[in-house]
Amino acid sequence: MKEKSYQTNHRKIAAALSIIPGLGQLYNKQYLKGIAFLILTGAFFGVFSDLLNMGLWGLFTLGEQTPRDHSIFLMVEGILAVIVLLFGIGFYLFNLNDAYKVGLKRDMGERLSTVKEQYHNLIDNGFPYLIMSPGFLLLIFVVVFPIIFVVLLAFTNYDLYHSPPAKLVDWVGLKNFFDLFQLQSWRETFFSVLSWTIIWTFVATTFQVSLGMFLAILVNQKDVKGKAIIRTVFILPWAVPAFVSILVFAGMFNESFGAINRDILGFFGIDPVPWMTEAMYTKIALIGIQTWLGFPFIFAMTTGVLQSIPEELYEAATVDGATNFQKFKNITLPLVLFATAPILITQYTFNFNNFNIIYLFNGGGPAVSGANAGGTDILISWIYSLTMTSAQYSKAAAITMLLSLIVIGVALWQFKRTKSFQEEDMM
């Protein structure tokens, strides 16, 4: 009902004129802004009309004839076109909104801000956007863009036999996902890789976490001497870059000259073990190595927590007649677990995607006959070999999507419980 009290109708006229950006601003007598908007709009279409036209067409058809059309390039252009279009739409909505608001001010008889004030306004409100934009643009091109690309790829038939420029790639809907679950060879491989990924994640992470905590508590005992040296040595595996250690271990476990078979097992009179050629032994070796690599981090964290537990708690417990074990169970363990819980979960997600150790140790091998994944491939290393060696791009993309869904699901569940998510300014 407030609407009726205005004598004039500037806001509606301005908004309507703004269907061509700039005209509304000109109508509002903001000449500089209006001209700037008009020029921006013109420039937008001038620069991007080809891209928009080609890109959107390409995105829908993925090309119609070879060798003129390269499906993958068309898809990239298409995504670019969509991103550009989204920016354009954002600007357009801002323009409509701006014309309407300024019109409203005129309707209410308020003084309009001068060019100088507008400039200050722009600097004040625009400052966060301005300083964020470099990082944001980079993020869009190297992180968001690839993700969109992979999502789209999962719905195509891009592989060795449908490879541009000789052949066109087509949209195939959910076929890749159905194949993964319905074609026997894919299904068996997928589930064997998935189950090993899960076992690997749980066993390796649990080992490294428990060893790290156990050693931290052990060293933290009051009457242990030489704590500084012990702690430094226990941190060493973390200090050496992981890729170096993994390659060194690959040498140590080597069946012909490695130290494990020749020096250690030989010393005890045990026959050489086929570490690299039998999946079972490779798995055992991998879990052992990851424990070696991963426990120092947990050790350092736990040591930090232990040192912050006030001594009075233990003294009070002693007065009450608690045994050492009771003190450990009721004071130490809960405090340590509580303080390290969020980081423990990230350890699991880290190992879930721990490409380096699987690939550098034995290339995901040993090879399994009849399967296109090696005996110790986890999802991420399988994706790598599907992409880089067997050119199964669309299948790899579909698996990447499934993997990301798992990771996001777990991580969201975790973040729901952490403090940064419950901050009031996020709500």
């Binding site: 944001f136 060194v248 380096n356 973040f415």
Partner: protein, 280 residues
């Protein structure tokens, strides 16, 4: 008597465990150091304390006509340092605006960052490869650095935003009263107070590209442009065993300086991870 005996057993067991761990930790490290001094290219007949130790493998690595090792070392340092510099600049700016300004789209952007940091950026490796191919950034260090920096933004922004939130806003408000501009507040008030978290972000941004294998493997094609991780892997994978002692020397030359650097900065790592809390 009973208590004393119990304590004796407990301490003995403790030291036994610690000694066993010492052996497990130090043995591989000693083994690789020993291998690097072994004469000959293969390890057959070698021992952990070589009889006629030689520096030949180190000399070979430092001779650029026989090995690309020095190039790799330089590339790794270059890529890591540049990634670190760009990451710190971009992350400071984004984290600062998230922490200090309330603008349209802020909440959604924060959510997006949260989700993006969960997906490792190499998951989209096909796309990164094709994109690099199309833009001509394949086989360049620039392309690699851009991917590293972009991938480091979401997680580190959250880490730094969490820290900046703890710096009282009254400080910048009073500076504003005194007439300080946006940039002045950023550079002279907030950033000096945020040095600890900047150090943490810088360390992360340095270590991550240094240890990365997969992205460098996909993007770098010529041997002179390899980083250490790719180069060493190549050395080992090409003819395993045949060049192992040279590889060992290369591994020692990486492990020693990095380990020293790491041990001296170690306390920052731990405090940074616990303080950040969101990701780690």
């Amino acid at each position: 008597m009973g208590i004393k005996r119990q304590k004796y057993i407990r301490l003995t067991l403790t030291y036994l465990v610690i000694l066993a761990m010492f052996a497990i930790i130090i043995y591989p490290l000693l083994w690789i150091v020993g291998s690097s001094f072994n004469p000959g290219q293969s390890l057959s007949g070698s021992s952990i304390i070589p009889k006629n130790a030689t520096l030949a493998h180190y000399q070979e690595l430092f001779d650029t006509s026989r090995s690309n090792y020095l190039y790799w070392y330089w590339n790794s340092l270059k890529v890591s340092v540049l990634t670190m510099v760009f990451t710190v600049i971009l992350v400071s700016l984004t984290a600062y605006s998230f922490s200090r300004y309330r603008f349209i789209g802020r909440k959604n952007s924060l959510m997006t960052f949260l989700i993006l940091q969960m997906i490792p950026n190499f998951a989209a490796l096909i796309a990164i490869f094709i994109l690099a191919l199309l833009t001509g950034l394949l086989d360049t260090h620039l392309g690699l650095i851009l991917v590293y920096v972009g991938g480091a933004i979401p997680m580190n922004t959250w880490l730094m935003k969490g820290y900046l939130d703890t710096i009282p806003k009254e400080l910048d408000e009073s500076a504003k009263m005194d007439g300080a501009g946006h940039l002045r507040i950023f550079f002279q008030i907030v950033m000096p107070l945020a040095t600890p978290i900047i150090a943490v972000v810088a360390l992360f941004a340095f270590i991550a590209p240094f240890g990365d294998f997969i992205l460098a493997r996909i993007l770098l094609r010529t041997e002179e442009k390899y980083t250490l991780a790719v180069g060493l892997y190549d050395m080992v994978a090409k003819q395993f065993g045949a060049e192992f002692t040279t590889f060992a020397a290369g591994a020692v030359l990486i492990a020693v300086p990095i380990a020293i650097l790491f041990l001296s900065f170690q306390k920052y790592f731990v405090s940074g991870l616990t303080a950040g809390g969101t990701k780690g």
